[in-house]
């Protein structure tokens, strides 16, 4: 029971033989909110997809423990059943499959005891209401023809239905309008409550005003090069990434010279 929720140790990941993550270390405890920031292409989504088990991402070194269990040995659906949830940066359309049908099947796989059809409908209705979406979305095909913001809201509707132990939110704020960011944030806070661990990937400080992180990490070139508290996000917004890179570059140089 004393295991952290998530422990990532020296994680190296390659795509099509090309190394992307080059030694990520990160520990997330229950109830902690970690923001992950970094330039485009630095490897944030790669980390998210790897944690969820996307078959294209090949772990070449390191380990990931989820509640002390080897996460990397589990299939994607087993990870979901263990309590890992990923809100996609680019949610996928499933033509011909209604949101209700999809979520009903998902909950059947995730839960021991089955929800009655009525319970399910009511719960789904509540989540749509909370995300300010009309519940007619229940009968629409999953993400098909959804606007960018609607897709992001549906991810959080799903999070609300599933109630994961670890929620990885990959740029859930991008594509949302100003109210959308607030609404989504409030709901993430509500669903996460006291126990859920959150890994929040973002480029902007705006969402961090609502979902206040305990830790902020900066990823550069497939590694977390700096961790701090909320003020780091603030600093990044003011100063950009260059200063960090220069400092990191200097450190690297030093290391090389020493080594």
């Amino acid at each position: 029971m004393s295991h952290p929720l998530l422990e990532i140790r020296d994680l190296h990941v390659a795509v099509d033989g090309k190394p992307i993550l080059k030694g990520v270390n990160l520990t997330i405890n229950r109830g902690e909110i970690h923001a992950l920031m970094g330039r485009n292409g630095s490897g944030k989504s790669t980390l998210a997809a790897t944690l969820m088990g996307h078959p294209r991402y090949e772990v070449t070194r390191g380990e990931v423990l989820f509640e002390g269990q080897n996460l990397l040995e589990m299939e994607v659906d087993e990870r979901a059943r263990a309590g890992v949830f990923l809100a996609f940066q680019y949610p996928v359309a499933i033509p011909g499959v209604s949101v209700a049908n999809f979520l009903r099947s998902a909950l059947k796989s995730l839960r021991e005891e089955e929800m009655s059809a009525r319970e399910f409908r009511n719960a789904l209705k509540e989540e749509f209401k909370a995300l300010h979406m009309p519940d007619s979305f229940a009968s629409r095909y999953v993400n098909e023809g959804f606007s960018g913001g609607e897709k992001k809201r549906l991810e959080i509707v799903q999070m609300g239905m599933i109630k994961p132990k670890l929620a990885i939110l990959d740029e859930t704020d991008s594509g949302l309008d100003i109210d959308g960011v607030r609404i989504v944030s409030e709901n993430v806070n509500r669903i996460a409550g006291q126990d859920t661990g959150v890994l929040l990937i973002t480029h902007y400080q705006r969402i961090l005003r609502y979902i206040r992180p305990h830790f902020v990490h900066v990823m550069v070139g497939g590694r977390i090069i700096r961790s701090g508290d909320e003020s780091l996000a603030h600093e990044l917004e003011q100063r950009g990434y260059d200063w960090l890179l220069q400092e990191a570059g200097a450190e690297e140089k030093e290391l090389q010279e020493v080594g």
């Binding site: 969820m52 994607v76 659906d77 033509p95 011909g96 998902a106 799903q158």
Partner: protein, 442 residues
């Protein structure tokens, strides 16, 4: 087996006359049967050197050895078929059921009779409405490529469905007919639908059997005739059991401003080959052709569609969706033919194949013959495995791979099933498709 059996023998023609006598057919019907039989005997057995037969090998079939049984005098409604009817679609205007070519069940609402709608089996129809049937039956064509099988079906069919909707009558509740096989001898389903001017109806034509212990054979024809302004939704629902080898030719002739929606649902049979043809021979005619195929195990499907525009100002649209699992195989070939002078014809064709297993195989072969210059015509085809991003997304929500792919397949086929506008039929057919997807062995 002696090769002399292969030759046309007097026993054959005698059998035809025995059938006619047994069914107490009028002279003209007997003559049509004899004509069909002569065509059957004269038509060459198709071989794979013939383009139309390139993808389905029938060399193991000895058609001349396959003969129909005389209709039984006291046919019984088998339990499974009774269940199908009882548990099937609610809110149905009429149901017919046949077993091995004999009518075993018939239920039609009063309103059909009141409006003069003929919805009955071939034999009754021929006795009670000879003129109406004769007028159409004597004009039915034989497609040369399928002639061997079509002629065989017309020569040997002992019964089948006849639906005639009189001028201006809109039948509100859908009708259904089930043609079942017991596996005890070949089946020759035959359906004739005639919509007079301005009439409207939905018919589900079901071909069903349990899994059969041995190989069985069937050959069927469906003829759909749409008068001016008529609207027909015709669902061909094929769920023969394992063991069945089935050949089918459906031909629709569309009158002025008529609208046909034909939905072919193919789930069953070990081997099936079907031609689905729409002839747009009057201005304003619209043909929507849709298809759903789901194959698994070693099933072999061969579908050929024909959108034939003989005159201009006609529109045909086609969407044929095929999902394959196990070691199943599907060939889809689609011909759009626009004849000289058929200006302002619109023809669209789209075939999508979703291949679920490495051993399954789908082929798609569009074929355009456009002989007019002022036409709009598009076609497209895809053959693809299940998208790994879709699988990843679904599995990330806890769905096991099997359940995830089941959802993807259901979703893939759903847009076609959504086109069955009669809710009761749509739900019944969707449930059967979903049940088959859920039961696949892979």
């Amino acid at each position: 087996m002696a090769s002399t059996l292969m030759n046309p023998s007097p026993t054959g023609l005698e059998l035809i006359d025995t059938l006619s006598r047994h069914l107490a057919e009028p002279e003209w019907a007997g003559a049509l049967r004899r004509e069909a039989w002569h065509r059957f005997m004269q038509a060459p057995m198709p071989s794979r050197t013939h383009e139309h037969w390139r993808r389905t090998d029938v060399s193991h079939l000895n058609l001349e050895d396959i003969t129909p049984a005389l209709p039984r005098s006291t046919p019984a409604l088998p339990r499974w078929l009774e269940e199908t009817i009882r548990k099937g679609a609610k809110r149905i205007g009429g149901t017919l059921a046949f077993v091995d070519g004999s009518l075993v069940y018939s239920h039609t609402g009063d309103s059909l009779r009141k409006h003069g709608v003929i919805f009955t089996d071939w034999q009754h129809a021929i006795q009670q409405h000879p003129d109406a049937i004769r007028q159409v039956a004597e004009q039915l064509d034989y497609d040369p490529a399928d002639e061997k099988f079509t002629a065989m079906a017309r020569a040997y069919a002992t019964s089948g469905t006849v639906l005639i909707v009189p001028r201006g009558v809109a039948v509100t509740l859908p009708l259904q007919t089930f043609f079942a096989a017991s596996g005890d001898g070949p089946v020759f389903p035959r359906t004739l639908v005639v919509l007079e001017e301005g009439s409207r109806v939905t018919l589900l034509d079901g071909l069903l059997s349990p899994d059969l212990p041995a190989r069985a054979f069937g050959s069927g024809v469906a003829d759909l005739v749409l008068g001016e302004g008529a609207e027909l939704t015709y669902v061909l629902f094929q769920q023969w059991g394992q063991g069945m080898e089935y050949f089918h030719h459906q031909r629709a002739v569309l009158g002025r401003d008529s609208h046909l929606t034909t939905i072919t649902v193919a789930l069953g049979a070990s081997l099936s080959k079907a031609t689905i043809e729409s002839v747009l021979c009057s201005p304003g005619a619209v043909s929507d052709m849709l298809g759903v195929v789901f194959g698994d195990d070693n099933q072999h499907f061969d579908h050929h569609t024909v959108q034939l525009h003989t005159v201009g100002n006609t529109t045909s649209d086609l969407l044929f969706k095929v999902a394959l699992d196990g070691q199943s195989y599907s060939a889809y070939s689609g011909l759009i033919r626009i004849e000289p002078g058929a200006q302002k014809a619109n023809a669209y064709q789209r075939n999508e194949n979703l291949v679920l297993s490495k051993q399954a195989h789908a082929e798609t072969l569009p074929n355009l013959e456009i002989e007019a210059n002022d036409v709009r015509c598009t076609h497209g085809a895809t053959v693809a495995p299940v998208d790994i991003e879709q699988m990843f997304y679904l599995m990330s929500r806890g769905l096991a791979p099997r359940d995830a792919s089941r959802l993807v397949v259901e979703g893939f086929l759903q847009p076609v099933l959504d086109r069955i506008s009669a809710k009761s039929l749509r739900e019944m057919v969707s449930a059967k498709v979903d049940a088959k997807i859920a039961s696949r062995r892979a």
